[in-house]
Symmetry: C2
Subunit: 149 residues, 2 copies
């Protein structure tokens, strides 16, 4: 059985959301506890998948990329599992979120700063999505905030 | 003047996008180079803001939260800088992306698993956005992939 998430778990994760590279010692100091307690708890959060991933937010502009957020609407009965499996393999597809509501799939992709190339990429993507109803595209110019916990 | 991003920078960032908590020694082994070269380069990427942030992706379901992605359309002339400053202060607003295209602002928020509470939260948000034209809401049920580099 999985443990219930408590306040201490949320405190650890909130610090890591701001700086995922902080070490056990610093974490313990910040949360006014011992290194052992922090490491034990963090290992559990990782093992149980409460923390799914440690990752980075880059400056896409500096990398020479354009970052596109695409909201995808699917026709009723579209094979969403199969679509996700196909998109997962695509190196340029950086984020895949499954959703209900206005969009059923949110996909983020990066492409070089070249509109012809982006057009090609989006055309390619649209062919990979069986039962595609529509795609709404936004070009992300800045990630102002990103702290999921 | 800022340095140009080279292949080695991208390799480092690609590893960190998969696991941001990897240490210098492991990074150096993976990339077949020295710990010194890795640490020097990484410090530069941080200093120059090419890596904007190290963060975590949690399992929202385990945290007891609902995760909502909101695409916002603004009326022409809406004060986007001011809107962003207001939203930044909101603890429940976890992600703010500025964009051009279909949406001009993408906001992610978390709320407890309580539809009345979510309704209240979204209503509150809509009042904070001066010049709001429309909001498209999707409830994220799973983050299948998240590796921005």
């Amino acid at each position: 059985m999985k443990n219930k998430i408590d306040k201490f778990d949320l405190q650890i994760m909130s610090v890591l959301a701001k700086n995922a590279r902080i070490n056990y010692r610093q974490l313990a100091e910040l949360l006014n506890t011992t290194r052992q307690r922090v490491s034990r708890r963090l290992e559990r959060l990782e093992r149980e998948g409460v923390i799914k991933k440690y990752t980075i937010i880059p400056d896409f502009d500096r990398l020479g990329y354009i970052y596109v957020a695409i909201g995808i609407s699917l026709k009723p009965g579209a094979p969403i599992e199969k679509i996700i499996e196909t998109l997962k393999e695509d190196e340029e597809v950086k984020v895949i979120q499954r959703a209900i509501g206005y969009h059923q799939l949110i996909v983020h992709l990066v492409a070089p700063k070249n509109m012809k190339e982006i057009e090609r990429k989006i055309h390619e993507l649209s062919k990979k999505v069986e039962g595609l109803e529509g795609m709404d595209m936004s070009f992300v110019t800045d990630i102002v905030k990103f702290e999921l916990v």
